[in-house]
């Protein structure tokens, strides 16, 4: 029972054991969906991950922290926004068995992000700039067992950093650049390492074909670190009415980890309130014979003009 409870509380991409964990910000653009109204959004994102290797399977339930976002229009075509995200997840839960040694390694935590930004409407263009404060704690608990004897070794990490985004969006295209990202990693409250985060360029095209709104996104991350790849990522999405489908190719910055995924969205308007969006993400990650299937339902609730409506009453 305890293992089930623990499994519900932790994220477990087996590949998060490397680098600074799973990058949860890929394909994320800083643009607002609606600039003329104030919005308040909440997203919850549980996940089930199924690991497969050599005919063995292991499943993990987990959930991301609740995401929160708020935006509001100002005078002169300006809008402001703020919110939080989980940026890098360092959660994992892995067992290793040898003839005489068993290791159970558990990682929890990661790098969180609080962002704030401003959007300016200039004709048909939206120009956006955001700054983010990165913070978080992570720990790794390694249990070693030999001949029934177990000892525990622990690593602690603390992160503090920042990163910035700028972007331009038109009805047909968008360009966003993320850079100047750094985070300080303090290991075991002793060693401090300054990490330069990847710069990222994301380009989007949004043509319309009949009743379909398409989106073609290309992203490229530039890591200033030879140990990591600077991957090219692609996402193709199609929207029609409340329904949306997207295909993704998301190679990780961790070498040889490839991820392929499908998103299916369904938007439900909530009368006089806003909207709810249901998303199901199914993805496959793999490296060296280890396959990880990710099933991630997501519920986003967006409340429109909450404060304005109260004033009208």
């Amino acid at each position: 029972m305890m293992s089930i409870l623990v499994a519900f509380l932790i994220n477990a991409s087996v590949f998060s054991v490397n680098g600074i964990g799973e990058d949860l910000s890929v394909f994320r653009a800083p643009f607002l969906k609606a600039i003329n109204i104030g919005q308040l959004g909440f997203t919850i994102n549980p996940e089930y991950t199924l690991l497969a290797q050599d005919g063995d399977y292991r499943g993990i339930f987990w959930t991301n922290p609740l995401k929160f976002a708020i935006s509001a229009p100002l005078l002169g075509g300006f809008s402001i926004m703020a919110g939080n995200l989980e940026r890098f997840s360092q959660n994992y839960d892995i067992y290793v068995r040898d003839s005489s040694l068993q290791i159970h390694a558990l990682g929890e935590g990661g790098i969180e992000e609080i962002y704030a930004g401003i959007n300016k409407r200039l004709g048909n263009f939206d120009i956006v700039a955001t700054g983010s404060f990165l913070f978080g704690n992570a720990w790794e608990i390694w249990n070693y067992t030999i001949s029934g004897y177990t000892i525990v070794d622990t690593f602690l990490y603390r992160y503090r950093g920042r990163i910035f985004n700028v972007g331009v969006k038109h009805g047909l295209f968008s360009v966003a650049y993320e850079g100047f990202g750094q985070t300080r990693m303090i290991k075991l409250e002793q060693d401090t390492v300054m990490i330069d985060l990847a710069q990222r360029l994301t380009v989007g095209l949004y043509p319309r074909i009949g009743q379909w709104s398409l989106g073609l996104l290309y992203g490229h991350s530039f890591w200033n670190n030879d140990n990591y790849d600077s991957p090219h990522r692609f996402r193709i999405q199609a929207l029609r009415g409340p329904l949306g489908v997207a295909l993704m190719y998301n190679p990780w910055y961790i070498k040889d980890v490839n991820e392929y995924g499908v998103d299916v969205d369904y938007a439900i308007p909530l009368r006089n309130v806003g909207s709810a969006q249901l998303r199901m993400t199914i993805a496959l990650r793999e490296r060296d014979g280890v396959r990880e299937f990710k099933f991630a339902p997501q519920l986003t609730l967006v409340l429109n003009e909450l404060f304005a409506r109260r004033r009208k009453q």
Partner: protein, 363 residues
């Protein structure tokens, strides 16, 4: 909705939960990107082992030992505080000592003597009545003539006194029980829950007077130069030190098992507990400072091989190789009884299983 339908609908969830519960090493290769976790095993070489001994005060023991043999003698000392100085019209005066049933007690004859000099329960030993003062004669200062004889057997010992003897007990500094025969027995002390007591009975009313102080004192043999002993009562500690091996540098000791042979037991229990304490300084004498118990194990009397978990010791000498001062093996608690185990010299083996630690996240 029928049960079968419900089960069918829950089958997927049940299956996923089942997969979430298992501990298969799926994806273990990813963990190996952080290090080579091949376990290594190493036997440390023995540097030295020998026995240190000392008379220790055992006033806080839950037992009171009484007995003797060719090597040991244990005496029990008691004192009582009477609420009145004079008693009249008593129907019965008796002293009751409860035998401990977790010991294999011998039937033992003993004599009771009045003590001439006070003793300090928490400081007295065979040679000292307190920290500062020796007995005039080792083993306690008491009148040569016995007050009464008794025999310890069955569950308890009951001794009856007359008025004169009661007055003598009241006037004395205490009483001492001296064994008159070979064998050992163990009474409950006041710390053991059933204190020795004197009961004064008058008109169907009984006034119990519990022992104010109680302890036993023990003398025993000195170990020979090449003997490795551990013992309680007369306390023997076996000092053991292994040479540190630099192969362990920067490693994580997961497993460290100390094993040694036992050849001779002197013990009136079926089992005893053996503990290990690390020395915090280089060895100097019996009282070299030690840390807390790092391992404790109950063994059966008669066991010929003992294994103890010494992973804490291994971890400490890996972290601080210059603090490898060795450790004491001892019977715990040291005052519980009069017992001794002879360890087989040269049989010590400290086998350490270790791995190199994982690399922390690097960038």
């Amino acid at each position: 909705m029928g049960m079968i339908t419900l089960m069918k609908r829950c089958m997927l969830l049940t299956f996923l939960l089942f997969l979430a519960c298992n501990e298969l090493p799926v994806g273990g290769d990813e963990l190996r990107t952080r290090g080579d976790f091949e376990p290594q095993f190493l036997d440390l070489t023995l540097f030295s082992s020998f026995t240190e001994f000392k008379e220790l005060n055992v006033g806080s023991s839950t037992n009171l030992a009484l007995g003797m043999n060719d090597e040991y003698e244990a005496r029990t000392m008691l004192s009582f505080e009477f609420p009145d100085t004079v008693y009249q019209g008593l129907d019965e005066i008796k002293m009751i000592l409860n035998l401990k049933d977790n010991f294999n007690n011998d039937t033992l004859a003993f004599s009771i003597h009045l003590m001439d000099i006070e003793f300090n329960e928490s400081e007295a030993t065979w040679t000292r009545r307190s920290f500062d003062e020796m007995w005039l004669a080792p083993g306690g200062d008491f009148s040569e003539d016995s007050l009464r004889y008794g025999v310890a057997e069955a569950d308890s010992v009951v001794l009856y006194f007359n008025y004169l003897e009661l007055a003598q007990i009241q006037a004395a500094k205490g009483i001492i029980l001296v064994p008159r025969d070979s064998g050992f027995c163990y009474f409950s002390s006041k710390e053991g829950g059933k204190a020795p007591r004197i009961e004064l009975k008058k008109n169907e009313t009984t006034l119990p007077i519990l022992a104010k102080t109680d302890c036993h004192i023990v003398t025993g043999p000195e170990p020979a130069l090449l003997d490795d002993w551990i013992g309680a009562g007369m306390v023997y500690r076996d000092f053991v030190k292994f040479n540190y091996d630099s192969l362990l540098d920067s490693s994580i000791a997961v497993y460290a098992e100390l094993s040694f042979g036992c050849s001779e037991y002197f013990c009136h229990r079926d089992s005893l507990e053996i503990g290990v304490r690390q020395l915090l300084e280089p060895f100097s004498n019996f009282d070299t400072p030690t840390g807390p118990l790092i391992t404790l194990k109950r063994i059966g009397v008669g066991d010929t091989l003992v294994t103890l978990d010494l992973v804490k010791y291994a971890q400490r000498i890996i972290d601080h190789p210059d603090s490898n001062f060795g450790f004491y093996i001892q019977i715990t608690p040291q005052g519980i009884d009069v017992s001794r185990v002879k360890l087989v010299r040269g049989s010590y083996r400290l086998n350490i299983g270790y791995v190199l630690p994982p690399e922390p996240r690097e960038f």
